[in-house]
């Protein structure tokens, strides 16, 4: 039996190779994703531990910036005087104490005066001190050049320098947060974190004086201190010693704690990326499983005569099943091996793609861990065996007498049971997905579990169940589609078309399973398409409804900019009104110094007197106007805090000032302003430094918008962080972000579609072999080679279109339901018919492409050989 199995494997090399490819791709994607997320993890933890000192002195409870705001009397930001550092240095437990100066809001311009794009990872600007990390090594490693010595010198990370087009010795333009905004400094070198890479962060390293010049108005003060322990001193002892001299409002914490905090913070972000990628790997594996089921089914159908002969010669059912499963096992081991290796390559490809996007990942951390290898093999082997199980059971059912029969067709299988079970499942799936519309029941399960109430989750689970059950009974559901397609292709291509349509219908289960692979991919693509289009439509609607000014000025990165810009704009010819908006932080209620965690931070939206004239706020109670000493709150916020119209609320600012504005109106949720809206005058009184988050501009009557736009553009030309946008530009900038994500998802789903193409190639290739004699007959009685190729191509297109029709129908259905579940955020529904048509066109192209090789092979067959085949 064993030898027979191996013979079979060898005899069907090409056929098996194709189905192996499906597993290879699935496993490769999984291994690639695992390797990549492991590398990402390693990169970040390398950076974190490589850039953390033995201990750190920092503002107490600085873990949350919002909580820092709760420290009255500390000025805008608590700072350490040089004397405090000197005192630390006198302690015997401390080998080094290095003052840290750091800040935000700094940008690098490239050689063409454009902002150097970042992946969303932070820009880290600080001073170089030579401080040591946990391992006693320098935190920063110089890659090239030298460290900055003067105020006018700078070191960048290599990737940023390269992207910006700077070489060591060049003059670099910076946009500073305060003071003189545009500054020129000299690049003296490039550096990286000890531990490799920067993970996409931009490093801007200055001399201490240079950093102070930028961030502390030149004052010799420090934000934090990095401590290095003397030999033999533990982190704990170091912290205890340091705390004896640390000034009020500061605390010393161990390096281990800092590492843990950083890893916590970054871990969530990394998990999101990993889960996101793994979801696509799982989809690829599921699609691959369909192809394996199909290939084995076909191979067994073709081999049924041989299997029957074995049975007639005395092989038991179990032996037949085992031989098929063993074949699957050998195949899956080969495939998983290739897949793991390919996955390693894929991880490097992913890393390269992320590098393009600015997220630097060192390639030496992209290694195959035992865990990755183990999981990949397990998934590859288990999925293949599970997929081969059904066909192997069917193989065992081939009766011995089949060996003597003329027809090699397997006995017709009863599908009624399967169809009805599938329909029940489908109904259950649809029911789940429709639940949010009907109303989610509130049942508590034993053990304290609650039925989840997130509508999106219900729709998601329902969609998953439905898509899989449609795949299961695609033979039944696809029949009317196939019949329609047959009629269509007969109309278009005559007899060739009819033959193709008939062939696709010959074994509906085979056709259905092949189409299902494509269906899953296209269902997800079109579901995402509906959501993205709805998102874009919602953005358009919201912008249409709420974008009232002629122009808006704001930073694409949402960083505040100096109020002087607004002042200048007011003077521009054609500008009638400039309405300012500022965002500030405060603590709600009375500040509890003993228990800083209890303080409730809040973002305040500061506006001026023009705001209520420009925008239509929907006042549910009171007025939509806010005067100094008053506050507008949204309905939601009022409900949460049990605030009533006319109440006074307590606000405590960082400066220590307190305000008690009175609620003048309760407004509906809006994109125009935040939860709590006050007047800028009040913020000024609370000693919040003036700066603007956005400007809303009304034009003078008769002013040409294009001309004014151009004038304002000139005004901010040297401020790349500030953009002037009209309504369309504003909407486009938001949609741009949605579409970027969309393209990424499409890119990942493309893999599922590639696997589906392989499935079609596979099925067609096997069918062509199965129908050798018939094809020979057709050729003998006058089917030309071209017609033969067309027939096979049409069959392929029929399969692909079936997959597309089912997939698009499901995708649109669940896209609509999901949109419905998310209607708070996605206010309008949009079904992108043009995109759906494009997907259908892609499916046709996929069909044509998949038929290429089988059609050429069929055409090459010798007519006589075809007739002579036994």
């Amino acid at each position: 039996m064993l030898r027979l199995t191996l013979r079979n494997l060898a005899a069907h090399k090409v056929r098996l190779l194709m189905s192996t490819l499906a597993i290879v791709l699935g496993v490769a994607f999984l291994a690639g994703v695992l390797t990549f997320s492991h590398g990402l993890d390693r990169t970040f933890s390398g950076i974190i531990s490589g850039s953390t000192p033995d201990a750190q002195v920092r503002p107490a409870n600085s873990a949350s910036a919002a909580e820092a705001a709760a420290r009255p009397g500390a000025g805008s930001e608590a700072m350490l005087e040089p004397e405090a550092i000197e005192r630390l240095r006198t302690l015997p437990e401390i080998a080094r104490a290095d003052g840290v100066v750091q800040g935000t809001g700094l940008y690098v311009l490239d050689t063409e005066d454009k902002l150097v794009s970042s992946s969303g990872a932070p820009t880290l600007a600080f001073n170089h001190t030579g401080s040591r990390n946990l391992l006693g090594e320098p935190m920063l490693e110089l890659e090239e050049g030298s460290w900055p010595k003067t105020e006018k010198e700078l070191v960048l990370d290599g990737a940023t320098a390269e992207r910006a087009g700077y070489r060591v010795g060049d003059s670099v333009t910076l946009i500073a947060p305060q003071g003189e905004t545009r500054r020129k400094v000299t690049l003296t070198g490039t550096a990286a974190f000890n531990g490799g890479g920067t993970a996409g962060a931009q490093l801007l390293v200055f001399s201490t004086a240079g950093a102070q010049n930028l961030f502390t108005e030149g004052k010799d003060v420090y934000a934090a201190v990095s401590l290095t322990a003397a030999p033999g001193v533990s982190q704990k002892e170091l912290v205890e010693a340091a705390n004896t001299v640390v000034p009020d409002g500061f605390e010393a914490v161990t390096g281990d704690k800092v590492v843990a905090e950083s890893e916590d913070a970054i871990g969530d972000f990394l998990d999101v990326i990993s889960v996101f990628l793994i979801v696509f790997a799982v989809i690829a594996v599921i699609v691959g499983a369909f192809i394996i089921v199909n290939t084995f089914s076909i191979l067994i159908a073709q081999r049924s005569r041989q299997l029957a002969l074995l049975r007639a010669l005395g092989a038991s059912r179990r032996q037949v099943t085992a031989s098929v499963l063993f074949e699957a096992l050998v195949m899956s081991l080969i495939a998983a091996t290739i897949g793991v290796l390919a996955g390693w390559g894929l991880a490097h490809g992913l890393a390269a793609a992320f590098r393009q996007a600015g997220l630097e990942i060192a390639s030496d951390v992209l290694v195959l861990t035992p865990r990755t290898i183990w999981i990949s093999y397990a998934v590859g082997v288990l999925v293949t065996l599970a997929a081969a199980l059904l066909p192997s059971r069917r193989a065992a059912k081939v009766p011995p007498v089949a060996a003597m029969r003329e027809d090699t067709q397997p006995p017709a299988r009863s599908t009624a049971l399967r169809t009805s079970a599938g329909l029940v499942l489908l109904a259950a799936g649809l029911g789940l997905a429709a639940m949010p519309r009907i109303g989610i029941p509130e049942i508590s399960l034993p053990g304290g579990f609650e039925v989840p109430t997130s509508p999106a989750l219900w729709v998601g689970v329902g969609a998953g169940v439905s898509i899989l059950s449609v795949a299961w009974i695609s033979a039944f559901l696809g029949r009317p589609v196939l019949a329609a397609l047959r009629t269509l292709s007969e109309l278009a291509f005559g007899m060739t078309g009819k033959l193709a349509g008939q062939n696709a219908m010959r074994d509906p289960r085979r056709t259905g399973a092949t189409a299902s692979a494509l269906m899953i991919g296209l269902a997800l693509v079109s579901l995402i398409g509906v959501l993205a289009a709805s998102m874009n439509a919602s953005v358009s609607d919201v912008v249409e409804e709420e974008f009232k000014p002629d122009l808006i000025v704001q930073s694409p990165t949402y960083t505040p900019f100096p109020a002087s810009i607004g002042d200048e704009m007011e003077k521009v010819e054609g500008v009638a009104t400039v309405s300012r908006a500022q965002v500030a932080q405060a603590v709600l209620g009375k500040v509890d110094l003993q228990n800083p965690k209890k303080n409730e931070p809040a973002f305040l939206f500061g506006v001026d007197e023009h705001m209520s004239r420009i925008y239509d706020l929907d006042a549910l109670e009171g007025s939509d106007d806010v005067k100094p000493g008053q506050v507008l709150v949204t309905e939601e916020t009022a409900k949460e805090h049990k605030w009533q119209l006319g109440d006074r609320i307590d606000l405590t600012f960082r400066s220590g000032r307190q305000l008690q504005p009175q609620i003048s109106g309760i407004i509906a949720e809006t994109q125009v302003t935040g939860d709590i809206t006050v007047r800028i005058e009040d913020l000024v009184e609370a000693k919040v430094p003036r700066e603007d988050a956005s400007l809303s501009i009304l034009l003078a009557r008769g002013a040409d918008p294009a001309v004014v736009h151009e004038r304002l553009d000139k005004l901010v030309a040297d401020r790349p962080v500030v953009a002037v946008q009209d309504k369309e530009e504003f909407a486009e900038s938001i949609k741009g972000q949605v579409n970027q994500l969309l393209y990424m998802i499409y890119g990942l789903l493309a893999l599922a579609i590639v696997i589906a193409v392989i499935g079609i190639v596979n099925t067609l290739g096997l069918s062509v072999i199965e129908r050798t004699r018939e094809i020979g007959l057709l050729r003998a009685i006058g089917l030309s080679r071209g017609q033969l190729r067309r027939m096979i191509t049409l069959e392929s297109v029929t399969i692909a279109v079936l997959g597309a029709v089912l997939g698009l129908a499901l995708g649109v259905l669940f896209g609509v339901l999901l949109r419905d579940a998310l209607r708070d955020d996605l206010t309008s529904l949009w079904v992108p018919l043009d995109q759906l048509a494009a997907f259908l066109a892609v499916a046709v192209a996929v069909g044509v492409l998949a038929a290429l090789v089988p059609a050429i092979r069929a055409g090459r067959q010798d007519v006589l050989k075809a007739i002579a085949t036994e």
């Binding site: 005559g494 007899m495 050729r779 009685i781 080679r785």
Partner: protein, 266 residues
């Protein structure tokens, strides 16, 4: 060449439907070389029902395939309907098979997904031609399958399937129909139906048919019987009876067993 009966017509006046001129066909090389056809020259006349007979392995099927443009001779020339096949490309050969030649195999003649009627009209639909309704009716009535036209091949008996195959071969009014042991898989009753039909189509519809057969009964339906042995034409009979054929075959058999050939010494 012929020693017995004279030809039914004067050979000079008969129209040639297909012709083999010194056709050789060899398979394999050197030691393993097999001469399936070893210099066959042959004229097949329009309006005749010709049988090709001979021992197993004598090259009958090979000759048919070469004549029917399914295979190419190693050397020599085949002419069908006045066209030399040697220089034609696959596309022209396909058209020739579709429009000028009909073919019936021993088995597996029909496309299982199509009905009997669709199978019969298949060559025409592939050429995107309309069937001649009068001709179609005539063929269907001759074949006697009118009530079964909408059935799939799997719903027809073996004999019925072969008759459908014959009807298909005739449907495009080909210049010549080749049939390789069309009754090889049938019992004598079904075989008689198929052969009767072929005879009718020659007599009543004026068709030209060439048939390979082992069966003297089948060959006795024919106007002319050509004998093949070792890839060569060794003899032919005109309008033979079953007994004549049997006698001839026994004669060939004995020659194959080492006796002096009769053909040459005449």
């Amino acid at each position: 060449m012929s020693l017995t009966d004279p030809a039914p017509q004067d050979p000079a006046q008969r129209e040639i439907a297909a012709q083999a001129i010194d056709v050789h066909k060899t398979y394999g090389k050197d030691a393993a070389e097999v001469r399936a056809l070893d210099g066959v020259s042959l004229d097949l006349y329009a309006g005749e029902f010709t049988a090709i007979m001979g021992p197993s392995g004598s090259g009958k099927s090979t000759l048919m395939h070469c004549l029917a443009a399914l295979d190419k001779p190693t050397t020599g020339e085949v002419v069908v309907g006045g066209r030399k096949l040697g220089r034609l490309r696959d596309r022209r050969l396909t058209e020739l098979r579709r429009d000028k030649i009909g073919f019936v195999f021993q088995a597996f003649n029909l496309v299982p997904t199509l009905t009997a009627q669709e199978n019969i009209l298949l060559p025409l639909s592939l050429a995107r031609k309309k069937p001649d309704p009068g001709w179609f009716d005539q063929v269907i009535d001759t074949v006697g399958l009118r009530p079964r036209l909408d059935h799939k091949p799997s719903e027809l008996s073996g004999g019925q399937q072969q008759r459908v195959a014959c009807a298909r071969a005739l449907a495009s009014k080909p210049d010549i129909v080749f049939a390789d042991e069309p009754t090889g898989n049938l019992d004598s009753t079904s075989a008689a139906q198929v052969l009767g039909f072929l005879r009718h189509s020659v007599d009543d519809l004026g068709q030209t048919i060439v048939m390979v057969s082992h069966d003297p009964v089948a060959a006795s339906y024919c106007d002319r019987v050509i004998f093949l042995a070792d890839g060569r034409v060794v003899d032919e009979l005109a309008k033979p009876s079953r007994e004549q054929i049997l006698a001839h075959m026994a004669d060939l058999q004995s020659r194959a067993m080492g006796l002096a050939p009769i053909g040459e010494d005449a």
